[in-house]
Amino acid sequence: MFERPQRQHALGLLILIGWQAQSLVRSTWPVFVAFYFQGDRDARFFIWAISVGCILTFMGAVLHFARFTFHLEADQLHVRKGVLVRDKVNIPLDRIQAVHVEQNLLQRLFKVCGLKIDTAGSAGSELTIHALPWDDAHALRGRLLQSIQDEEVESSEAQQASDTSEPNLVVRLDTPTLLKVGLSQNHLSKIGFAIGGLLTFQGIAWEVVSELWQRVPSLYRTVLLFLSPLILVLSPVVIAAVSVLISVATSVVKHWKLRVWVEADEDPAKRALHLTQGLLNRQSMQVPLHKVQWVMWENTWIRRQFGFDTLHIRQASAGGGGPTVGGLKLTIPAVDGGPTREFEGLMFPSWPERDLVTLRPMPYAFWMRWFKRVLLWAPLALAAGIALGWPAGMVALGGCTAWTGFWARAWHRGTWATTDGRHVSVHRGWLFRKRVMVDWTKLQAIQFTQNRIQARRGVAHLTFHTASGVAVLPYLSTSVALQIRDLASAQVNSHHGAWM
């Protein structure tokens, strides 16, 4: 199986047509808009343009489909693709970092799924196979990650109904937790989006409301007019409620039946983390545990009330830089204390190797941060002083100073790290708290940074670069920073095992 060059499932053609059409529309939409506004006289040009676009899309998809073949040979995945520029890509299997299987509604209808392969060599996923039968996709994933044998691949039915069959289940989201995940999303962006939408379409909205108003019987009009102050007061609450509902709905759809389990194997190099989730777009992700480079727990004030974090796990990826950039991402919501300890044990088995040492930023960090924040807010106080007189300016300056002082203190208290001499766990943030954990044996580079003032004050920053993100220890005393740098450097240089 997969030893001879093969094409995708025939449905891949349909998906490719959709994909090509999408990219064509995305790149040429201004032309279509221009044609549309030419008026009736030139409508035929518009029709011509659409026809040519359709033909190009269809031809492009057919050629792309025909040219795209893949096969496995000598521990490498060989891919031939491209229409005008023909590519021959060979990916060594040991360089593959993660393989994710996805299935949208159309793919589910035809019982096929898409496969995304990530190496550390490109900003996004290295390769996408749009349509493969579900079982074939899992078999290919097993071969690519060399972790499971073909005969052990679970069938699609077993995957769908798998409630108890998964080994070493770490996280399973039940409905109440799923609702909590939805409630703890960032609603502010959605509220902002709703208000922006209302402002943008206020003209149209006003017309619609006026038209509806004409149709309302006069008795109801009187009642509505009487209640209008109440409606005005309640409208922000309604907007907020709708935003929260949208958040809950999107979370439920995305994380439906989320399960995370560990593929156990005697060989540590073959242990892998699996995640399945999704109601409309089903995702099945797999990351070998030894390929995990960077792990981040994050929470907000609401999530802290529910007592859980969101966990981001990253394998090596050219996108690097943490949760927002590049590569295939594994994000697990609603991780509380128990699973957190379990994930620590899985991804950092030797943590803590020795007694933990706590590292905190020097007091200079607090004063510096306060000073910088006061400088940032001072123009506001100055403006208040100019506009409202000097007493108001002084009050504003006092307020700004107190607020930024409180803020700097909270930041300083929330910034700390622990290390056992092999790993480092960095905590940051006040309202939005983050904890980044890395293994020093997997570091790519160690950066020591210090400006002239910091050199006089005896403080420095340390940045640990991994293949998928950084961990920063800010404002350490210079001697501690140098010791930690040398220790981390010794750890990475004395490590001889697999790291990626």
Binding site: G320, D355, A445, F448, V480
Partner: protein, 182 residues
């Protein structure tokens, strides 16, 4: 409570921090003078080009509007900003030159740069995915090149050592290839 900013020796009994191999910053190899010349040349050119770029329009305005000329505030703002940037840049170049240097150890390569903000980056040989020697027209003229060391991912861990003599860059590369499996 113990001072958390200091590593407690009794908490870490198995690691003798003093015995760890240190990055001996005093032993850094300085970059060749040819690269310093190139940096002075770039600075000088930028000085002239940006100077002309702000003085020429002001002079043109002066000629157009006769004796009145452009407002004094414009002269002061543009001139002040330009002078400030150029002085700071010049200071950084002058004071930063002795700070620049690299160190090749058995298992990693270290590069230090910057005067106002000093950065010391260490990249282990075993983490380097590929390397590149780059030589531009100025480098060809003055005889230096840049050695770029690329690591996995792109979280800013790539190292660029500019201004190396081509022979040194090639030697480092050979050492790198010989030590990659270590």
């Amino acid at each position: 409570m113990n001072d958390p900013t200091v590593i407690q020796p009794d908490l870490n009994p198995l690691v003798d921090v003093a015995s760890l191999p240190r990055v001996e910053e005093d032993c850094l190899t300085p970059l060749p003078r040819a690269y310093a010349k190139a940096r002075i040349l770039v600075y000088g050119l930028s000085f002239v080009v940006t100077g002309v770029a702000w003085v020429a329009p002001c002079l043109w305005l002066l000629m157009q509007e006769g004796e009145q000329g452009p407002p004094a505030a414009l002269w002061w703002t543009l001139g002040g900003a330009w002078t400030g940037v150029m002085v700071l840049w010049g200071l950084e170049e002058h004071m930063g030159w002795p700070m620049r240097g690299f160190l090749v150890r058995e298992r990693d390569v270290v590069y230090r740069s910057g005067w106002w903000t000093t950065q010391v980056v260490a990249v282990p040989f075993s983490r380097i995915q590929h390397s590149e020697i780059q030589q531009g027209p100025l480098g060809k003229l003055l005889g230096f090149c840049s050695l770029k060391l690329f690591t996995a991912g792109a979280s800013g861990a790539n190292l660029n050592i500019p201004g190396l003599p081509p022979e040194t860059a090639r030697n480092i590369r050979q050492l790198l290839e010989a030590n990659q499996g270590v």
